[in-house]
Structures are given as C-alpha cells and as structure tokens.
Subunit: 364 residues, 2 copies
Amino acid sequence: MEYTKLVKGESSVATTENKKQVTIYDIADQAGTSASTVGAVLNGSWRNRRISEKRAKTIQQIATEMGYAPNMQARALRSVRSSMIGMIIPMYDNRYFGAIAERFEMAARARGLLPMTSCTHREPELELATVKQMLSYNVDRIVCAGASDPDTIARICKAHGVPTINLDLPGAAATSIISDNYTGAFKLTSALIKHAQAKGLDWQNEFLFLGGRPTDHNTSERIRGFRDAISNAGARPLDENILACGYAAAKSKVAFAAKLKDTGQMPTAMFVNSTISLEGVFDWLAQNDRAALDTILFGSFDWDPFAQYMAQNLFSVRQDVSAMVDTMFRIIDGEAPHEPKIIQIAPIVISDKAGCDTAPSSRI
Amino acid sequence: MEYTKLVKGESSVATTENKKQVTIYDIADQAGTSASTVGAVLNGSWRNRRISEKRAKTIQQIATEMGYAPNMQARALRSVRSSMIGMIIPMYDNRYFGAIAERFEMAARARGLLPMTSCTHREPELELATVKQMLSYNVDRIVCAGASDPDTIARICKAHGVPTINLDLPGAAATSIISDNYTGAFKLTSALIKHAQAKGLDWQNEFLFLGGRPTDHNTSERIRGFRDAISNAGARPLDENILACGYAAAKSKVAFAAKLKDTGQMPTAMFVNSTISLEGVFDWLAQNDRAALDTILFGSFDWDPFAQYMAQNLFSVRQDVSAMVDTMFRIIDGEAPHEPKIIQIAPIVISDKAGCDTAPSSRI
DNA sequence: CTTTATTGCACAATCGATGGTGCAAAGGCT
DNA sequence: AGCCTTTGCACCATCGATTGTGCAATAAAG
C-alpha cells in the first residue's frame, strides 16, 4: 500500500470508529489518488468522468473499509441539492395524519431522501416559520399536508427555487393530491340515511354535520356532499344543522352541547368531520348520556380503529393514504405529469362491519 | 448608498424574493463592509469581535430588508454543529408516540433546533440506517424513543461525537427517561383486581396479560408489576396467562384467539400492554363476541380516547409524555445532570371516568 | 512512425459561513 | 509630541464535496 501525498488529516489509520469523520481526502490518501476521483467514484458520477473500473473498485473497497459516509452538509452546500424532503402536517393525534407521516417517510427513504416531517398545529405562522427553517437547510422539496395557507408557502418556496406539492388540502399554486371529499361525504351520508330509513327513524330534521373549518376546502366539499345526499334522498338540508366549529375535540364538544341545549333533543344521525371532532362528541356523551352512544347513528369522515370496533352504529370514511402518498411521489418522481392541478383520490366508505377486516395495524 | 467592493454576485438589487438566496456577501456589498463582519453581526458574535454597535445596526437592517436567512449547510459544514436534533420513534399509530413526536418537535423548535423525527417500525436495521443517515447530516444529538437497540446506536453516535439520549425504552449506554412501568402496571393491575373483587368476580385464574415484547424492558417491568399486584392480592400469578406476543394488533388478536380456544372461556380481566395490542383484542371481540366487550374488565397500558370513552370497563395508564419530554430537554439543555442513568416518570392511572376530563385534545 | 482521438485522472475553484490573525485609526498617557 | 493600548474591522484559510478544465499516457488511424 502506497502512502502518497499525505496532505490532509494525516489520519492514515482510520479506526472506522472514533475518528471524527472519514472524508474523501482520507480515502484519497489511502488510495493514492486525488480527492476528486474519490468523490466521483463515491457519488456515482465516475463513469461520466472516465474513471477506470479498476480504480473505482479499489476506492469503493477502501471507502467501505474506512466506513466512509458522505458529509451531506458539504454536498448540499456545493450542489444546492440536499437530498432532504420536508413535510408539514397539522398533528399526529389521529390515524389519518399518522399514516400520512409514516408512509411519507417510508416513500422518501425508499428514494434515498431524508424525510423531515414537522407538525405545525394548523397555525399559519408556525407553518411559515417551519417552512422557512426547512428552506434554510436547502430541502429539495416541501410537502404541505393539511396546510392552512399552502399558497403563501408555495410562493415563498418558489422564490427559493424549491418546488412544493399539497396533500390533503389543496392550493392553487401547486399540484394537490386530496381525497374525493365530495363523493366520500355523499356516500357516507347516503349510507347513514339508508340505514336510518331501514330502521324507520325520522332522520330528516335531526341530522347534524359537526366539525371542521368552513373555510377549508375539504370541509366545504364534505358539506356539499352532505347536503346533496340529503336532497337526493328527498329531504331539505338545514343550515342550522351544519356546525363547522373547527376540528378540536374541545370545540366540537362545546358546539354539540350547545346544539343539544338549543334543540332539546338528541340527533338521529350525525356526520362528524374528523375523528378528532368525534372525540368531542363521544366525550360529551360518555359523560352525559351513554345510552345515546348506542342509538345515534354516526358517520365519521376519517377512521379510527377503536371508534370503529366499539360503536356498532358508526360508519366511517377512510381516506386512502397509501394511494395518496404513492400518487404524490409518482408526481415527485416525474413519472406522472404535474397536471391536472388537483388530483382526487377516492376514499373508502366503511358502512358495515366487514370493513373491520382491514383495520388492524400489521406492524410489530 | 455606497457601492464599494462589488466583488461577489453583483446582485446589488436583491428582490427579497426570487433571488437565489441572500448571502452574507450580498449584504456585505450593500453595507460596504466585509463578509466576516456581516457574518459576525448576523450570528451574534459581533460583540466579541468588536464590531461597533452602529455598524451592527446597519447590517441587521440591511439583512432584514434583503430577507437574509443563513445557509445552514454552510454553517454546519464550517462549525460542525447543525442545529438539528434527530429522533427515531417506532410508529405514529397510537396516541402515545404521536404525543411524544409532537412535544419533541415543539420543545426542539423552542430551542431553535430543527427537529427531525423518523419512525423506524421497531426494526433494528432501519433504526440503525436512519441514525446513520442523520449522522451524515451532522445532527447535534439523537433521541432514541422506543428503540429496539439503543446501545448500538449510542455507540455509533458516540464514535461520531454525537450524544444520544433514550426515551421510553432504556439503554445502558446513555441516559434514559422512561415511565415508571412497574408502579404503573402494579397500580393498574391492583385497580382491576379491586374492581373485580367489588363485583364479586372470580378473577384469580382468568386474568390475562397480553401484548408486548418479553425482551423489552418496559414489558418485563410491566409483567413484574402485574405479577406482584396479583401476589399482593393474595393470588398466584400464572405463567400461562402471560402472553407477550409482540405489540402488533394482528399478533395480539391471534394470541388472544388461541388462548380462548385453549381455555374455552373468556377471561375475567385483561392487562393489555399497549393500545395497539388492545386493537387486536377489540377486533376479535367485535367480530366474535361483542357482548364480551362490555363484560371483560380491561386494563390498557397506554391511553386512547376512543377506547376510553367507549368502554366503561376500561382502565388505562396514561404515560406522562409532557413530563418525559420536558425532563429530557432539561437534561439536554444541561440544566439537569445526566445522572442517574435511568429516570423514571410516574404515569397516570385512569381508573374511573373522572379521568376522561383530561382526555380531549385542545387543538384546533 | 507520426498524428489524432480517447482514456484516465489531477488540479483548482467554488458553495456560504466561521474564526484566527493582522493592521490601521483612534484614544490615553506621560 | 511620542509611545502604548484599544477599537474596529478586513483578509484569508477552512469545512468536505462537486465540477469545469487541462494534460499526460495510451490507443487508433493513416
């Protein structure tokens, strides 16, 4: 083994462990070549640079022996690409967003990207601050999942030359992959109505819609589907039964309680817009009227295993997270076109217990 | 405005937006000073470097006008510190880990650190690969939450000069912050026994422990607490009733079904080790014996709002995530000593419905 | 056996921020 | 006024990888 040009970091005996970090210069020293050759070999561009196969092999072996790992900071600084992909997401307090985060991370890793997810609590300022922070790390791309103001984010990212893509909630400034909220809501509502009719219940006047933000696209589409399904069943949707009070359990609990106080009777059926809002309803009922837990017909837009198992009178819409994330990455990969701007993925309506079969997580 | 020394990137008119990125050189051009002065001002070290207050003010203002944000890659490359903190965590499919991730991110951001969380599915190889990836980005520290093999990770990180800290599951090679699993399990089991006794049920022979990995510290401690509580109540804990079959819902479902087939009768009470395992049990019961959902006495180590609201016969242990994460960061901040190696945080036992008051998420 | 083309690689600039060092100007002191 | 100290800042090397360029050595062509 030759020891030529020991210019940098004389550490010719890299202990694999404990040395500060093996660099291409260390390897170059060992291999008796230049750092640029080593760099080219180790980042895969060596064929373009006409490095001989033999030398490449040697260098790769030395790199392995020395336990080389590229310094991504240096790479990112020079090449501007960081191999990091960021995602902002509202919360991890429900299965839907949890599944999004998990699948996002897996898909990112499968592509050699370092996923950086961060929950931003549906607060626009926090979303923006987080995005800016990610930008200063030169993330290659940012995914806005359920973002309050995706267009402002898209604009800022574009100014930095960083592409964005929206998930769950759409924006006008970037491609968006969302659920087909209208159809999902329509089907869910129709299933509830059908069930109520089969049971001979009077559903027309006491059918609530609860939860969500009236300003967000998903909620407004779900309300539209809800109303249309009611109309379609020959009834008239009532404005006063639509309570888009925000998502938080505390808020839906208050709104639900107020509505009950107002009307003086339990609803026949309820379309609850998110499992978080459903939490508020169940909380109130568990404390005040447990019997109603078994009599009210629930429809939940979003799925939760416990809610599903426990309530026999609960229908759910389960958004197809796998399809959403896969579709998104196909676009990111460039395999699918960026048009149309909004891609809707059909969610799964679980309106009988057969749906439970798909429920349990299969992880350890 | 003076235009002196327009050496680099002649972009004297930075449009705040759309320019590739404002650097200290751009600001230096505008301010007519050197880049090192700008750098010192903007990273706060300017007093040590004897930059005049007046010049600092000027530079700060120009920086604000130009929308400067430091290139963290460059900073990290030079200073080795990246201001990133990584965390690996098993999954986002339950409230416990979701809460950990969320609070971790908040606490990290509050300290100006960029949180990078990544779920690694309880797979040691994936944990290791993820950690190595984080290391190549020079993260300042790594948190191992619920890691299968925290000691190997700690060793590798130490070799890179990166400190680690364990959360949820302890290791020997780094400080660990975990729940007091033994006491939690003891109390939960005792509460179940007391309840069974009050109801005059025969609990001694048909009291199951289900879920978890027998090899992990938490599970073994919970089993110990479970056994001691039974002994303490004057009975004999039965080995054949302890089914540490893994956490996954699918696994607990199978184990539960097999046990039923074996004994031919429903258990009186069950200690279920994680909400994920509880899912498997509920899944089986929902399909095969709904009535048992209301008769079996459940104890769940970990809390889930829906499980809590729906089952009147469910006691839970809710781990004190806030305290755990806060304690961890106090150690990271250096405010608390790194000793003792294992810090146990008391979890909260919810054995009556009063506990529900704390349940709903208060977010939007 | 030249001449041209190709192969195989080394050199050096560069990305943006940090921090050691040096030096002129201003201020203090006798 | 002359000397010393302090102030205020500029210069430059550096972190590790990427990439344009140049130049020997070898191969191919005539």
